[in-house]
Symmetry: C2
Subunit: 194 residues, 2 copies
């Protein structure tokens, strides 16, 4: 059971966005610009960074949902997502992404764990300053989302199918539909009351 | 030296906001709603939560800047801020804030470290669901900000006076001036180029 009273049946961060919609909207915008909007890093790559960090933080909801979105971008290759999530070093990915995942893993431990040589290794594989910046910020942001979801003990579905179903919509439409839906529900609740 | 090329002389997160202004604006909005906008938790209390978490994450820039803002809200009582930052259990604060700082410290370790008894202890001291929610989200957000600032090895001034000077402006005006200033600088740079 969640640590605070949330709407029944809304899993993970969705229940929290419904609980406080103004912060939910800002956190959705952050996910949108980091994971969905145009970037020289592919959406799949950014979702893999989010998934790996969520795995390291042992956040089941976030690793299952972002892992499913990553798999959607990768034509359903859940095996690849699983291998990247658990051990980027041995996964079948390009060297630039591997080096960026190493930076992300350091960020998960602590900002100070990122060493110049980690960043230089990514740069040698072709990563730009902007890509290094975005990798650090995505990893840092998931250290927030993971703690927000688990720190309030939100409801975590355990069946993979529910994550798969939702992933397709987010992968195609991005992260702004949920806050819009919550805002509409709040507006109609106000108009029923008045 | 920072891991990526940032504008000279812009310390900590300010250099990162200037590097990527769209994410800077969203992260500023998050700080504004969590730390500055009206809330049943005082601004000083919310800044103390941010400062304590930044101390636990060993992020000098964030603990110095938010510690200075907290001290500003507390009529300059830097000694109190320092004691809360290092050891909330022995600090001279009210029991509700002490219990919330305990929750925040658990979040810093991991979302899963927050136990029902931690939350119940805060509730017994009068904390509401919304205050528990906001405490968890502030603590989680600083696990992001701290990693963003240190993960890119931004410039960290070591003299306390520079933090004091800036704290007064932020304490009074909030967190949205910096992104507005950056947006104006970007707009005037574009108009000079065109």
């Amino acid at each position: 059971m969640a640590h605070i009273k949330l709407k029944d049946g809304w899993p993970g961060i969705r229940g929290l966005f419904a609980f406080r919609s103004d912060t939910g909207e800002i956190l959705s915008q952050l996910a949108q610009v980091l994971l969905h909007d145009p970037n020289t890093l592919y959406r799949a790559e950014r979702e893999l960074i989010a998934t790996h960090v969520s795995f390291l933080n042992d956040c089941h909801y976030c690793q299952a949902s972002h892992g499913a979105i990553a798999a959607h971008h990768l034509y359903g290759d859940e095996e690849l997502v699983d291998s990247v999530k658990r051990d980027p070093d041995s996964a079948n990915i390009n060297p630039k992404l591997r080096a960026l995942l190493n930076v992300a893993g350091k960020v998960q431990d602590s900002g100070k764990s990122v060493l110049s040589e980690d960043v230089e290794a990514a740069r040698r594989e072709g990563a730009t300053d902007r890509e290094i910046h975005d990798t650090v910020l995505i990893a840092a942001a998931f250290c927030m989302y993971n703690r927000y979801v688990d720190g309030l003990a939100t409801f975590t579905p355990l069946d993979q199918e529910s994550y798969r179903e939702r992933a397709a919509g987010v992968a195609q439409n991005g992260y702004l539909r949920l806050p819009r839906m919550i805002a509409e529900a709040e507006a109609s609740a106000v108009s029923v009351q008045s």
